[in-house]
C-alpha cells in the first residue's frame, strides 16, 4: 500500500490513518454521492476517489460510466494528479464506458431497454474481470444529471438504474460513486429525484461555494455526512465533517475553515 499522509477528505470518507484499522478499500459496500452546484464543481472529488482507488489496493478495478466527458478529459486531469489511466486500462484495472452518445429508446417503444442494456454491460464487464481484480470494484458515474438526460428525462428510469447499481454494493460489496448537480433539482417537483438519491447514499459529500463569496485562496467548502450503517438495523450514527478546499494544479488541498492565513 502506498505510504501517504491522509488528508481531510480521506479521513471524512473513512480511510483511517492507523493501518491496522484500515480496510483494504473503505468504500466497499457503500454508495458515495457527491452533490455540487454551478458555482462550485464537485468533479474534483470524483478525481480524488478515482486516484485513490488505484493507489489503495493493487487488486482494485474501476468501472467508469462517463455521461458528461470523453476519456481524454479524465486522462488529462488524472495525469496532472499523477495517475496514468491508459496504463491502468492496459492492465485491466480501468474500464471506461463511454455513454456520451447514449440515447435511450423513447417511451412508447416496446421496452425501456436503454438503461437496462447499460446495466447488462456493467454486469458483463464485471463477469469478465480477472479474479484478483474482482475483489474491490468501484463503479463511478459521472454524472447523474446527464444519466437522466440519456434516459429522456425519465427520473424513474434513472432511479431504477441507480437502484440496480446500488444492489452491486450490497450483493458484491462493490463501491458506487456518483456525482449529481444539486441545483438542477432545487425546485418543488424535481427535488424528489434528488431526495430519493440522498436516501440511498451512505456517504454524502456536499460541495458548496463559500457563503462569503469568491476568494483567491479558498475555492469552496465541503460537508461530508458519513452514515455509519449497521445495514441490518439502519443508521447507527452519523459523522459530519466540514472543511474547505483549494484546487491546485496537481492536487487539491483540504483544510479546516480559518486555518489559512
Amino acid at each position: 500500500m502506498e505510504q501517504q499522509g491522509l488528508d481531510l477528505m480521506d479521513q471524512a470518507l473513512g480511510f483511517h490513518s492507523n493501518k491496522a484499522q484500515q480496510q483494504p478499500w473503505p468504500l466497499s459496500g457503500r454508495f458515495v454521492l457527491v452533490e455540487d452546484c454551478v458555482d462550485t464543481s464537485g468533479a474534483f472529488v470524483l478525481h480524488h476517489i478515482l486516484k485513490r482507488s488505484f493507489t489503495s489496493h493493487p487488486s482494485s478495478a474501476v468501472i467508469f460510466l462517463a455521461f458528461a466527458n470523453p476519456i481524454n478529459h479524465y486522462d488529462r486531469v488524472l495525469r496532472k494528479l499523477g495517475c496514468n489511466l491508459a496504463s491502468q486500462r492496459d492492465t485491466g484495472r480501468f474500464f471506461f464506458l463511454d455513454m456520451l452518445m447514449l440515447q435511450c429508446p423513447v417511451e412508447g417503444e416496446p421496452n425501456h431497454d436503454g438503461l437496462a442494456a447499460v446495466f447488462e454491460k456493467i454486469e458483463r464487464v464485471i463477469s469478465e474481470l480477472s479474479p484478483e481484480n474482482k475483489k474491490f470494484v468501484t463503479v463511478i458515474i459521472d454524472d447523474i444529471s446527464c444519466l437522466e438526460l440519456a434516459a429522456n428525462g425519465s427520473s424513474n428510469d434513472a432511479i431504477d438504474f441507480l437502484h440496480y447499481c446500488y444492489t452491486l454494493t450490497s450483493e458484491n460489496d462493490y463501491a458506487l460513486v456518483a456525482l449529481n448537480h444539486r441545483d438542477i433539482y432545487s425546485d418543488g417537483e424535481r427535488s424528489t429525484f434528488k431526495l430519493e438519491i440522498e436516501y440511498l447514499a451512505d456517504i454524502l459529500v456536499k460541495v458548496d461555494p463559500l457563503a462569503t463569496g469568491l476568494a483567491k485562496d479558498v475555492h469552496g467548502q465541503v460537508m461530508v455526512l458519513n452514515k455509519e450503517t449497521q445495514k441490518q438495523h439502519g443508521i447507527s450514527s452519523i459523522k459530519v465533517h466540514n472543511f474547505h478546499f483549494k484546487i491546485k494544479e496537481n492536487n487539491t488541498e483540504y483544510f479546516y475553515a480559518g486555518s489559512r492565513t
Binding site: A116, E196, L204, E228, G234, I235, S237, I238, V240
Partner: protein, 370 residues
Amino acid sequence: MAESVCRSLRDGALEGELAPTLTIKDSLASPFGFNVFSHILVQLSSQIVAGKSQSQGIMIVALSRSPSSYIDLLKTSGVDVESSKKWIHILDCYTDPLGWKDKRRKSGDITDPSNQILSSYKTVKDVNKLFSVICDLGRGLVGESKSRFCVAIDSLSELLRHSSVQSVASLLSNLRSHEQISCIFGLLHSDLHEERAVAVVEYTSSMVASVDPFHHSVDGQGSYLGNSSRQNLTKGKFNVRCKRRNGRVRVTCEEFRVEPSGISFAPVSSVDGAAVAVAGLIPKVQFNLQLSEKERVDRSRVVLPFEHQGNGKPIQIYDGRRSLEDSKNEATPISGGKKEDSGRGEIIYYRDSDDEMLDSDEDPDDDLDI
C-alpha cells in the same frame, strides 16, 4: 408509545375486523425510519417464534434492503430463522425488481426450492400480482386454516414510485381485509411524495408513527438532518397517532436514540416538560416570548378602550390622553367635542366648525396668534 404499537401488532385483528396497520413515516430531516422498522420487525418476530402473537408467520416484502440483510438482522438479534417450523418468508423485490438481471436466462418470478425462505419477484410495477403472490406465499407459510400471518413492507415509498397512489392504497386495503392477515406495517419517506399520497396512506392505516427531528430547523425546510444539530444526529421524537375502534384518536410522544445495537425509546425528558408540542414550534430567538406571573397579572389589569368593563360604573371611553381618574372628573367636553351618554353607550359628536359660516375669502387660520 413504541411498546403499545408493538402490542397492537402482536394482538392482531379481531374476527370480522380490518387488520391493524402501522405506517412509519420519516424524512431526511430525521432519516431513522428504518431503525424503527427493524426494531418492530425484531420484536414481532420474537413474539411469533415464542408463540405469543396472533400471527404465526411473517411475510417481508423487501424492496429497499436485501433479503440477506433481514436474515442477518434477525440472527444478530437472537431470533431463530432456521427453526424447523417455518415462520418467515421474504419476497425479494430488491435484487431484481424489473427483471433486468440475467436477461439471457429470461427467468420469471421463481421460488428457489432449495431456499425455503426466499422468493424473488421481478415485476414490482404489477401491484395486483404482488397482492396475490403475498397471499399465496402467506397461505403456504401458515396453512389454509384459520391461522394468520403478518406482512411487513420495507418501503411503501418504492411501491408508490413504481405504481400509482390508487394501486398502493387498494393493495393496503385488500391486505387489511384479508381474513388470514393479522397485521401490516410499512415504512414511508414522507418527503418523497405529495401530501395527498402521504395522506392516502395515513388514512388506510390505523396507526401512524412519525420519526421527527429533535430540533426542527429554524427555516422550516426539510434539509438533510435539519440543521445537522448534534442532537439530530442520534436522537429524535417518535410521535404516534392511533385510531381506536371506537373512533377516538390517541396521540403519544416519545424520544428515541439510535445506537449501534439498535434503537431505544424513552419518555420525553422533563426539560421539555409539558409544552412539548409547542416548544418545537416556538423559534429560538434572543428575547423572551413567555410571560412571567407578574406580567400576566398586570396584563389582566389593563383597561382596554371600547370594552365594557362590566362593573356597573358608567362607561368611560379611554382616549389615551389622560388617566382614567382624570377623565371621570372632567365636566366640560374638550375641543373636538366628544360627549358620552352614560348608560346607553352612545357617542354624540359636535363639530366646532359647524358653528361657523363658510367664507371662501377668509383664511380660517387668520385668527391664529403664533
